[in-house]
């Protein structure tokens, strides 16, 4: 109970300390988007032939004739009331668009993260158990190569290999084959939704669509995770408590997986923030390659159409998610290592 209270207190304090950064993010996004080329009032006007009077009227309605600081206050007010504007390309409010598309992006990112972790940890451990062996060299080679392959290249080569040559993967567009029946939307996560609907056919269809983009993303973040696991595992394996555990006659597996791994995971948790930042960026490229209907491809389409409200909403959303992820990482770290205190 005391532990839960400590964690809650810690999370609360950490959240308060991340508020200034979040505010900075909002202001920065606002300033950035005010520099965007193109006058939003002209977009909102009835058509290309709209008169100057009409444009001025819309500008007044949107508050664009006010000084910048005043506009910022309006903007902050809009954000707190959940009004991020309207997308010119879809005709919906940006919030609605983002909410319907976010699960697609999150599903992809989480599956990729799970995939990366479940590959990187064993690889890192194996490499650390036998430093300078063949396994170690293979892992190092994979890691060095992994960070060098741009996600958009590896994604396209996966498509070539698994879709065109081998015919194993489905047509690389979207989250589910257009001919398959889509499970009813409950959570928006199609894997979960198809499980809820007990529709194994849909589950397989969704999963097979998800494999290639998830692998592409996982490959890109495999390297930092595996490298960090190897380094911290190496350090932990030489420590006193591991020797004591072995001296007490515990099985090697138990010493490694229970005692050593638990301590070796701490540095891995710390780099999770950076890994997640990389993944949110890679997400944009992967969604483009696989025509994935997530928030990133939505923002990208809007960006190329000079539709600025969705881009602004997207950047804000990404930054907020990232701040939240860092918060979670910090709290997790506190649970994993109770000695850590926040400044």
């Amino acid at each position: 109970m005391a532990m839960a209270a400590t964690i809650a207190k810690r999370a609360g304090r950490r959240f308060l300390s991340s508020l200034p950064a979040l505010f900075g993010v909002v202001v920065f996004t606002f300033l950035l988007m005010r520099v965007l080329p193109g006058d939003p009032a002209i977009f909102f006007a009835s058509g290309p032939n709209a008169g100057q009077a009409e444009i001025d009227e819309i500008r007044r309605q949107m508050g664009l004739d006010k000084p910048i600081p005043e506009q910022l206050i309006y903007y902050l007010r809009d954000i707190t009331t959940g009004n991020l504007g309207r997308s010119m390309t879809t005709g919906q409010t940006v919030v609605k668009d983002l909410v319907t598309r976010l699960p697609a992006s999150l599903e992809l990112t989480f599956v990729a993260l799970m995939l990366a972790l479940s590959t990187a940890l064993p690889l890192g451990i194996m490499a650390a158990l036998r430093p300078n062996s063949a396994v170690d060299h293979v892992v190092r080679f994979l890691c060095t190569l992994g960070v060098c392959v741009p996600t958009f290249v590896s994604g396209l080569l996966f498509i070539y290999g698994f879709y065109y040559l081998l015919g194993l993967a489905p047509d690389p567009t979207g989250r589910i084959d257009i001919f398959a029946s889509q499970p009813p939307t409950v959570t928006g996560f199609m894997l979960v939704d198809s499980l809820i609907a007990r529709d194994s056919e849909a589950f397989v269809a969704v999963a097979s669509q998800l494999v290639l983009p998830a692998c592409t993303m996982a490959l890109f973040v495999l390297a930092p995770l595996a490298r960090m696991t190897r380094a911290s595992m190496l350090a932990v394996l030489t420590s006193d408590f591991v020797r004591t555990g072995e001296a007490l006659g515990l099985s090697r597996l138990r010493v490694i997986l229970v005692y050593a791994l638990r301590n070796a995971l701490l540095p891995v948790i710390t780099i999770m923030g950076i890994v997640f930042s990389t993944m949110l960026g890679a997400n944009v490229l992967v969604e483009k390659v696989f025509s994935w209907p997530g928030v990133a491809s939505y923002a990208l389409d809007a960006l190329l159409a000079s539709d600025y409200a969705p881009v602004q909403g997207f950047v804000l959303l990404m930054a907020t998610i990232f701040v939240m992820v860092n918060l979670t990482v910090d709290v997790l770290y506190g649970i994993a290592d109770p000695r850590v205190t926040i400044e």
């Binding site: 950064a21 979040l22 920065f28 520099v35 080329p37 960070v147 996600t151 958009f152």
Partner: protein, 282 residues
């Protein structure tokens, strides 16, 4: 360089031939960037539609694209632009980051707090998304890719320079420089910065690889460099349309060029760090 240093470099390279190979690779890329455009067999932008989408052959080593342009020539010519973008972005953020970080670490106080906050805000964005938003905001031009890539690199250099200057600011030789009548700006620029730069320079090679990836990613998305300008990211993006019909060479060769460049700069960076900063060796 003294003979001792040379001997040390030779010693490191003998034990680590990978660095030597990576260095040669990087040198090769620079040479390609300089001389490539005048050596290529075909004009990279002249289309020749009857010979469109041909697989690699003796005439067209890397095949031809949908307009019959020679992919080999386009990949070679693109080297200059890609390296130029990455190098300008990294040097811009290096110079700016070193100066801002050094003054911030030297002064402490209000300036330091504001710089710290600025860096925190930058770091609160997923960096690639930030770069995207900046290119969008500043306009779809090559120089804006450079600025965007420079700004997302900036936090690392600022933090590094700040930390390094901060530990040296009350060292004896800094006090001496101040006591003999140098202004604060002179102390920072002429005494502290030269002391910090070598350690920072090691980061350059590592960052070059990252900058190449970022810039290519941006132009893959259609931001910044525009077709028909040959650039690796755009070449991949153009080839992406034909991958589901099996035209692998359009993606493979520019992709390989990207990988080769990033690999060389990353390995070279690791090697340089071993030579210049042996403490960091892992």
């Amino acid at each position: 360089m003294s003979t001792a240093t040379l001997r040390h470099v030779g010693f490191i390279l003998r034990g680590n031939p990978v660095t030597l190979v990576a260095g040669c690779g990087a040198l090769f890329l620079v040479l390609v960037a300089i001389f490539g455009p005048s050596l290529v067999p075909f004009d990279p932008t002249t289309s020749n539609v009857p010979r469109a989408l041909q697989p690699p052959s003796a005439t067209h080593w890397f095949g031809t694209d949908q307009l019959g342009r020679d992919v080999f020539s386009r990949v070679v010519v693109a080297t200059r632009l890609d390296l130029l973008i990455a190098a300008s972005a990294v040097s811009l953020s290096f110079v700016l980051g070193a100066v801002i970080g050094a003054f911030s670490g030297y002064s402490g106080g209000t300036l330091d707090r504001w710089v710290g906050r600025f860096v925190d805000v930058l770091m609160a964005f997923p960096l690639f998304v930030l770069a995207m938003a900046m290119v969008a905001a500043l306009g779809n031009r090559v120089e804006n890719i450079i600025y965007a890539t420079a700004i997302i690199n900036l936090p690392f250099y600022i933090r590094f320079a700040r930390a390094e200057v901060n530990v040296r600011r009350s060292a004896g030789w800094v006090e001496a420089a101040r006591a003999s009548g140098n202004s604060h700006a002179r102390v920072v620029l002429l005494y502290l910065l030269p002391n910090v730069l070598p350690a920072m320079a090691v980061q350059i090679s590592l960052n070059l690889g990252w900058a190449i990836l970022n810039a290519a990613g941006l132009s893959f998305l259609g931001l910044g460099v525009r077709p028909p300008t040959p650039e690796w990211g755009i070449l991949v993006a153009e080839g992406a349309r034909f991958i589901t019909t099996g035209k692998w060479w359009l993606v493979m060769f520019p992709g390989m060029a990207l990988m080769f460049a990033v690999l060389c700069f990353n390995l070279l960076g690791d090697g340089l760090r071993d030579i210049l900063d042996p403490r960091m060796r892992t």
